[in-house]
Symmetry: D2
Subunit: 356 residues, 4 copies
């Protein structure tokens, strides 16, 4: 008999359910007796001991369903060591829940923030296995995260829709894609939908270069321009600010960055610029087939690790193989997109401007 | 030999191409010799004599394509009688283009504004046939307009995506749907996606009723609430303002109405509220099958009218039949959604709150 | 307190769950106390007394889900009066279940066959309300049935996919669409996807006319042809057979009709013809937004009838209004598509051949 | 000035247009003067000198369009050395077209058969660059081919649709997925859609093991079973036949393999089994975002090779990088799926039966 805890933490994304189903199916089909405790709403459930007992039936039919059957939350406190409003030491509270239920292992699905906490729990002696979830694909130690391809699909569909209306009206259109720190999602959605200009955090933009690209299109007879802008796109001037000063500036900025870009283009070209922000749509809906297969495979391998008693790992993907990556190597690191990456060069070969 | 002009005016939508293909195919298959003049970018093309000669091949393969192959524009002047910036009398200019090309008929695809101008041209003696295009479904004289169902599909998909993330995080989510004056689109998308609260221009909302509905859901154990808000949703207080005062208020409001609703809910409940605005996506992308069939049928019947020399009509849809409606009856009227309509009552039976 | 039975019978389709959710939500929100008995797998559940007690929670989240949470079956006996294999009189057995549970009303969702039985139960004195479900849209007494538009969407998507490959290879492609007796589905999917030839049961085809249409396309420079064929398409020769002889012929025919059409075209033109049959896909998947709204509205009105104690009706749709239609008028009648219907004429105006 | 030929050969698939657009855009944006000759309908166009001159405009807006703007054909002769019906030596004819147009390079998009011929032309001294197209993902020398993920998406959607109807009716459903020789497509679509049993050419099936898996599901309370069957699935008995004898057997088999599997299951369980074959749908429709990005990147790198004058390569994908692979290494080899591949083991961990 094994007693397994499950929790999903951070912003939700597609295929969380598919991944959990993979873990549970692989454990059940192994013939092992298992008890499954699903903690509700991320680490909060672990801290306050809120959980539901689950069985195989709870995971039936959820392969294709978005969201997470366990609920999620972004941790509502600055650091995990902080006491919660009631003075509770959170780490101790989480350990307490773990030991009280006599768990053999806790499976945690999440992104960067989640992995920091997961590693801390590992250091405290808990048996942890994690799965890499994020639409940003910015987790260190894995070539891919689940949620990413589904988000690319939705953002692409959004830009596809905008394409026909931009073409009909001869307008400049900005679509803002999720991604505060990394540009993988914006880059892929932009390339997939034939965006003409792509602005990502990794490559600070020069508004004059953007205007130049728009005008070059006009000269070639294209009356419209599509710009895919990451939430975290940054101008060359802002990139020169200290981190602190930029943060201050962001706090004062009432609007998303796209409106700033739109204003600047309008000021320089006199042309009408429209902004569309699909926002949280990018995290929702049924996972795409790629993510369903990928998350299921990760889940299956997580189940195998648990059966072998190998803890302290994130199950990741490297060179087309599912691998285990030590949690201590993952925690606190960000995978970023190099401005010199092959895909960026290829995008430039295709005539896409990054405003640099 | 017949010489036909075609133009698409106003905000673009799905199935404009399908409708034009219908007109042209029905004329070509009749065996009649025809010449087709496509005016570019709406009435502007007619005013300035910008057109392209088209043949059957131009309409092949466009049934499924969004946007309009002719381009469109919202008329950039206050009234059609105003001279353009160069002092040109626009009505005279349009008549000039029509007579210079010796047209037998001008087919105009557009919404409310477009129909006003179309009727004016009719009064000036031009042979006009129109087709009802708008995602708002607010054209008088027809039960349905093309573009509407496609927009419902996209707005529904947007809310579907939001549903899974709202559920996972236990949040209140607002999705703003297009529609400044009428609520058909928001109502249908809201009902199709299981929205809990729907705010439309026809039914001014009371913020306390909205809060009550959210709390009632919580008491029944639902931790999240989805609100579909039309662009033109209006509070009970604002509905009491004079038209002029309200317009002033709108001009001062920097943000879409959804942010106002979100702030008010947050202030009264302390709950986090997220806003998503799919915006122009709702006009774009491939028309849905319903619109493709519908626009094709309208186009075919327009072709029939032209062959019979029956001018001065909009081709509309009444009681499941394609009919001709005198242009003079259509121009300047708005089809609105009665707060007592059966569909509103049915929505209320299903437990949907309109904040009234 | 009201005790309500629910059952779904016949081939499943999209929006069955949406419709049941509509009934239950409208009853629950009325404030009435209700008990819901869901009979499993259609009339079988009623005959053998297999049911599940349901509450509001069972209907939460099912608006968008295909299939039926109650299961369905095509009645596995020739007539309802026949005893079942165990000698049980089926009508008596159904009445027994109804009275034993002391039901106030039985809500039945189904198509033509289902309605015959439903009316028989009404004649036996049971309180019955029905909802019109079928992808064929062939129920008498209603302009529309739910499932139809969703099936049109799927069949259209199938033909859309085939379109690109037909175009690339310059082939004749047949897509067989569901519909043994009526052609609404094939006609709409064919028109929506730009099929060149549409064969439906209502218009017997002449293979030479089909070949002529293919050749005419070739002469106009179109190297490919798309044919949408209803399952029940019939040749002019076969249409002359007696009903009995035709039935015999059908029983001997090993393949779907499309292969027969393909062979005949190949024999007469030497051209390669490919057949694709999406089959049961057309009944499955998430209902389209149109069907979700429509089924919800029908369900809400069914709830209203029940609350008023008005029994013996199908809730249908006439001239854009939800109406009640006496069950005795519906049972045993088929709504068919007239070869002279306006939509057929419009399709012909668009150059579509029906092989007649 | 460079003179480039383009041709697409073999069964069409998604993203052929995206890949060609990539090649042409990267050449045009390099500033190089180029002339583009598009040969029509695959190698036939090269043999008979049928081509169209193309410019940048021909590649605008085709990123999202399925099929190929050049047309394709499966070579209608047994070997490339065979004279064509008019006694023309085909290799000489192709060389003649190449030299007559004074081409610098010929870009060929295709699968296994296409690559054999491409390599033969390379051996004859022509400058060749190829791109790996196939929904089967069975090309040696590349981890991925474009078309594959799009086909997975369509096959998955098909099985998703079947899922709801299978569940409602408690039936066994077979969906036949494309793939005569390799099972990548069936395996991925099956895993993505939650198929219970997956039959692929690489793992011969034992009908008794299939029946056992169906019965095990029944015992666990699942009343339906979904089986994804590759076109080339083979029973253990047939796998023992000599290649010649099996080929003979296939020639005699009137029906696709799925019907054979269905009959066998029915015979052993008495249960109703339905078969759905989405067929050519899997090759058609708009490419998925993954394929659009991937094909664009491959095209861009092909353009780079051409500019550098590096010929005799297929542009492939290895360990997440776009690479060049010598054509001579690719020709005549098949990439197959090992029965011991990690993904197969993971599928088995998830409880999926392969009938072995």
């Amino acid at each position: 008999m094994r007693r397994i805890g499950l929790l999903t933490s951070g912003g939700d994304c597609q295929a969380l359910n598919a991944a959990m189903r993979g873990v549970v199916k692989s454990l059940l089909y192994s013939g092992e007796q298992i008890e499954i405790y699903g903690f509700l709403n991320g680490y909060q459930g672990l801290i306050y001991g809120n959980y539901r007992m689950l069985d195989g039936g709870d995971f039936s039919g959820i392969l294709t369903r978005g969201g997470t059957i366990l609920g999620s939350s972004r941790t509502p406190f600055k650091t995990i060591q902080d006491p919660d409003p009631n003075g509770l030491n959170k780490v101790e509270a989480m350990k307490h829940s773990y030991y009280k239920l006599n768990l053999d292992c806790l499976v945690i699905l999440g992104g960067n923030g989640t992995h920091k906490t997961a590693n801390l729990l590992r250091e405290e002696g808990l048996n942890i296995v994690t799965l890499p979830k994020t639409i940003d694909n910015d987790l260190w130690g894995t070539d891919m995260t689940f949620g990413f391809q589904s988000a690319v699909d939705i953002a692409t569909e959004a830009i596809d829709c905008i394409h026909t209306t931009a073409d009909s009206h001869g307008r400049v259109f900005i679509v803002e894609v999720m991604g505060h720190k990394v540009g993988f999602l914006t880059l892929n959605a932009g390339m997939a939908s034939g965006a003409d200009i792509i602005l990502i955090p990794e490559i600070p933009y020069d508004i004059d270069k953007i205007v130049k690209a728009i005008n070059a299109r006009k000269e070639r007879g294209s009356k419209f321009t599509i710009i895919a802008v990451a939430e975290g796109a940054i101008s060359k001037e802002d990139a020169k600010l200290s981190k602190k000063d930029y943060k201050k500036k962001l706090e004062k900025r009432a609007h998303p960055v796209s409106y700033e870009v739109a204003e600047a283009i309008k000021a320089k070209t006199g042309q009408e610029v429209r902004v569309t922000i699909p926002g949280h749509m990018q995290r929702g809906g049924s996972p795409c087939p790629y993510d369903r297969v990928f998350a299921s495979r990760l889940g299956a391998e997580a189940g195998k690790l648990i059966l072998k008693g190998e803890y302290g790992f994130m199950v990741g993907y490297k060179n087309r193989e599912i691998v285990k990556v030590p949690l201590k190597d993952v925690a606190g690191k960000l995978k970023s997109l190099s401005p010199d990456a092959a895909i960026i060069k290829e995008a430039k070969l295709l005539g896409i401007s990054f405003g640099d």
